[in-house]
Each structure stands twice: as structure tokens, then as C-alpha cells.
């Protein structure tokens, strides 16, 4: 565990020493503040469109950070040859991979805290109330979803040749699942066999990341979700993340690294 945490701490350091996070954060803040300055029929209490724009940017930025950070971990270690002095230590490949996963996940968690704090401040400036429980729930679900994305990207970094192709494929898949994952069963039921079974099979196989997208509930001030239900969703995500990580570990153990 000590080795895993050591590797994770290096990943976190990398995130806050690179410029990616700061650029995305400042971009989000700037755009949201510009949107907030728009005069809409002289009403200063209109807030939901701001919340939607802010949350949209938070989701896009968090996915960019998660995918690009995870996609470059192993390939850049190989390319920069930092992998060799690392693996020459009493550190197994499994520990290295788990450390990279944990580091990316924790780093994304820290980034999410910064983003959601800004979001909370922006919303509170107009709504004058702060539904902490709702925001906490949304942030936790978002973070848990990123675990699946990061695990998938890490697996992809071992399978695909270049980090750019891995990142592109992951982005496309994640966008597909977020936009269409919920509706695959409806489409499947309208198709004849065997396409119905194939699509329904795909529907059951993919990780339903859209479950964790509770932006509409936050934007429109719906009550928080029951915590047991959140727990089930979190377990669902962690199951997928674990399966993907196990796959990644198996691939990494067999992979020639030089």
C-alpha cells in the first residue's frame, strides 16, 4: 500500500505542477463570470442557466483532466524512460498501475473540489442558499464516475499505441455513453432480432456513466437522492473500475516494456 501511495503522490504532484488544470479552471471561471454579467430582463436572480453552463464546463474539464492525465501515465513513463529506474525498485507492475490509478483519481478529486467550490459560490451569489448535501452528492457521484473513466483510459494506454488515439477513443466512448447509454434499450426494443439482442447485450455490458450525471437535479433544485441508492451506484462504478483495472494489470504484466 505504501508503494501505491508513493506512486499516487507523484501523479498528484504532476497534476498541480502542470498547467492543464489551471488553464481549464481559469477558462471555466472566466466564461461563467462573463455569462453571469449578461443582463437578462434586469433580473439578477436568474441562476439556472449559469449553473448549467458551469456544470457543463466542470464535466468537460474533469473529463479532459482525467482522460489526458491517465492516458499519458504509462506511455510517457516508457517514452521518457522513467519507467526503468522505477521498476528496478521493489515495486511490482500491479502496484505501479494501481498507484497511477489512485493518483489520477485523487488528483481528479482535488480538481473537482476546486471546481465545485466555485460552482457553489457562483450559485449561492444568486440563489442565496447553499444545498451542501446536494452538491456533495453530485460531487461524489461525479468522482466515482471518473474512477471508471480513468480505469478504462489506463487499460487503453496499455492497448493502444499512442496516448492521443487512446484519449480520442475514450472521449468518444464516454460521450456516447453519457448521451445515448440511457436510451439504448429503447432503441433495441424497436429493432428486429438479432439486432435487438446485440444492442441489448451492449446496453448491459457498457458502464452506465449517465447514472452519475445528476446535473439536472442540481440545476433545478430537486431534493437529494436517497443515500442507499447512491451507494448502489457507487458500488456499480467501483465494480466496473475494478474489472477494468484487473484487465489492465493482466495486460501490463505480460507487456514488454522496452
Amino acid at each position: 500500500m505504501n508503494n501505491i501511495l508513493a506512486v499516487a503522490s507523484v501523479v498528484i504532484k504532476e497534476l498541480y505542477r502542470r498547467k492543464d488544470f489551471y488553464v481549464l479552471y481559469i477558462l471555466t471561471v472566466l466564461i461563467c463570470l462573463i455569462m453571469a454579467s449578461v443582463n437578462l430582463f434586469h433580473d439578477v436572480h436568474i441562476v439556472r442557466y449559469l449553473k448549467e453552463i458551469c456544470l457543463l464546463f466542470i464535466w468537460i474539464c474533469s473529463l479532459v483532466i482525467a482522460i489526458t492525465t491517465a492516458a499519458r501515465q504509462i506511455p510517457s513513463e516508457r517514452e521518457n524512460r522513467t519507467l526503468f529506474p522505477l521498476l528496478a525498485k521493489p515495486l511490482s507492475r500491479t502496484q505501479l498501475l494501481l498507484g497511477k490509478f489512485l493518483g489520477c483519481w485523487l488528483a481528479c478529486g482535488l480538481a473537482l473540489i476546486c471546481f465545485y467550490l466555485f460552482f457553489g459560490a457562483l450559485a449561492a451569489s444568486r440563489e442565496h442558499h447553499w444545498p451542501l448535501l446536494n452538491y456533495l452528492q453530485a460531487g461524489l457521484l461525479h468522482w466515482v464516475m471518473l474512477a471508471v473513466v480513468i480505469a478504462f483510459t489506463l487499460l487503453g494506454s496499455l492497448v493502444f499505441a499512442a496516448p492521443s488515439s487512446n484519449a480520442t477513443i475514450t472521449f468518444v466512448l464516454v460521450a456516447f455513453i453519457l448521451l445515448l447509454g440511457r436510451h439504448l434499450n429503447k432503441v433495441a426494443l424497436q429493432l428486429p432480432e438479432p439486432r435487438r439482442s446485440i444492442l441489448y447485450g451492449l446496453y448491459y455490458c457498457i458502464p452506465h456513466l449517465e447514472l452519475f450525471d445528476v446535473r439536472d437535479l442540481i440545476i433545478h433544485n430537486w431534493p437529494p437522492i436517497a443515500w442507499p441508492v447512491c451507494g448502489v451506484a457507487a458500488l456499480y462504478a467501483l465494480a466496473y473500475a475494478s474489472a477494468l483495472l484487473i484487465g489492465a494489470c493482466l495486460v501490463f504484466r505480460r507487456k514488454a516494456i522496452n
Binding site: V10, K13, N80, F84, P85, K89, P90, L91
Partner: protein, 266 residues
């Protein structure tokens, strides 16, 4: 029923094995190839080699001889196709076998966004060095490689020589009993090379084992106790430097060229 002779032979073998820091037996490494008529290409063929505790061992050979491949097997980067290799009696596939070694790669690249102090702290943590000892060791190795002034600067600001010294520092952070060096003086100026030689000598005086590959045969002749010469994946020659000199009546460079079958034009 074990006989006295068998027991003695077993004791001798286990005793020898206990003294062998590196033990390689019938090692075979093959890489897949796209050449016609050949599915795999052997990089190392049936290599048997041992390095005893406390000696400085030179691992020589022309480019493509299989030196780096052998080192990669010892360090767990590559899986052997056949045979086995052990460090301190532990199979090299176990991560714990690398607990007592230090490794300096030929090309030294480290995390550019870390400072040298942070890098050493990271590696020390992987070795499981307790926190109080960690800081003391970091101070010692940074002093040894003369990087104290630059310890708080990020590695991306370092020169090549400083990177090499960082590499040396990280290979010594756990006070290793075996140091594996892959062309340690490559790219260094004469002063840098001298300092590396001094460090190797100091380690030898402390009873540590050093296993290194190099193309600088003059240096190897000076500091090594034993050498092995590889060519095309096969072990061609192994023995004490002095014994080889006496046997061939040639210097190490000439022995090397003779063993690999190099014929000068003149």
C-alpha cells in the same frame, strides 16, 4: 538416504549460491521477429553466469551482444524465455529481489516536474526506508554526488551531467548491496568519469557488489575484479582480469577483439 558426499556437495552448492549475489543459469531470451523463416530471434542463448559478493564485475560485449537484455531480465523488465536468474537467491520475477539493489540506467531520465530531493524521497519511500532515516540518506547521497545546491530545483532545469548525478544518487539511496550500472560513464567528462570510478571503488571497499557494463575497457581493466564477454547472445569468456591477462598476454581490449572475432584490416 543422503550420503556424506552428497551432503557436502549440496552444502558446497548452497554455500556458493549463498555467496552468489547474481546467479544466472541457462538463461535464454528470444524476441518475436518478422523475418521470413524465423518466428523468434534469440537475444541471449544459454547464458550461465554468477557474480559473487563483494566483487566488481564487468559485463562486456559489442553492441547487440545481449548485455542490456541480460540486465533487463535481472531487473524484471523482460521475461526470460528459458532458464532462470536470481538476485540474492530470490527469483528476479519477485519484486522483493530488487529490495537490495541500486540501478543506474544508461540514459538517465527522471520526472522533470520533481526536484532531486523529491525524487529521492519518492524512491526512498518505495524502498520502505523509515522517515527519519530517509532524510538523512537523502542528505548523504546528495552530498556524495554534489547536488546539494540544486536539490530544490526541478529536474527539468538540470544539465546532462547533473541528471547523471541524480541517477547515481537514486541508485544509492537505499544503500544497496548490489549496484547494477549500465554504462555509467557514458557521456561524462573526464572529471565525471573519475568521480564515478571513485564511487565504485568506495563501494567495493565497503564490501558491496558492483555489476556494470561498459565500452570503456581501460576503466574496466582498472577497477574490475572479474569480467565476462558476450557476443551474439553467447558467453565467450569469463574470468579474473589478471588471470586473463596472464593467459592471453594481451590487454583487455585486445582480448575483447580477439574473443569477438574482430580481424583488423592491416
Amino acid at each position: 538416504m543422503p550420503t556424506v558426499q552428497n551432503s557436502a556437495a549440496t552444502a558446497q552448492k548452497s554455500g556458493a549460491a549463498a555467496r552468489d549475489i547474481i546467479a544466472i543459469e541457462h538463461l535464454r531470451v528470444e524476441y518475436p521477429t518478422r523475418q521470413r523463416g524465423q518466428k523468434t530471434k534469440p537475444a541471449v542463448k544459454d547464458l550461465t553466469l554468477s557474480v559473487r559478493a563483494g566483487e566488481v564485475f564487468g559485463f562486456l560485449g559489442p553492441n547487440g551482444a545481449g548485455k542490456t537484455t541480460t540486465m533487463n531480465v535481472l531487473l524484471g523488465f523482460t521475461n526470460a524465455t528459458g532458464g532462470n536468474a536470481c538476485l540474492f537467491g530470490t527469483d528476479v520475477r519477485e519484486p522483493i529481489s530488487r529490495q537490495r539493489i541500486g540501478y543506474l540506467p544508461e540514459l538517465t531520465y527522471y520526472y522533470k516536474f520533481l526536484t532531486s530531493e523529491e525524487l529521492l524521497r519518492f524512491y526512498a519511500r518505495i524502498f520502505g526506508i523509515p522517515k527519519p532515516d530517509r532524510e538523512r540518506r537523502i542528505d548523504n547521497v546528495l552530498k556524495l554526488v554534489e547536488l546539494e545546491q540544486a536539490r530544490k530545483r526541478q529536474i527539468k532545469t538540470y544539465s546532462k551531467g547533473m541528471m547523471q548525478r541524480v541517477g547515481l544518487a537514486q541508485s544509492l539511496i537505499n544503500d544497496p548491496e548490489l549496484l547494477i550500472l549500465d554504462e555509467p560513464t557514458s557521456g561524462l567528462d573526464p572529471v565525471g568519469r573519475m568521480k564515478v570510478r571513485e564511487i565504485i571503488q568506495r563501494l567495493k571497499d565497503e564490501g558491496k557488489t558492483v555489476f556494470f557494463s561498459s565500452h570503456e575497457l581501460g576503466e574496466v581493466e582498472t577497477i574490475c575484479d572479474r569480467v565476462a564477454i558476450l557476443n551474439q547472445g553467447e558467453l565467450k569468456l569469463e574470468g579474473r582480469v589478471s588471470d586473463l591477462a596472464d593467459q592471453y598476454h594481451l590487454n583487455l581490449e585486445q582480448i575483447f577483439l580477439k574473443v569477438i572475432g574482430y580481424q583488423p584490416r592491416s
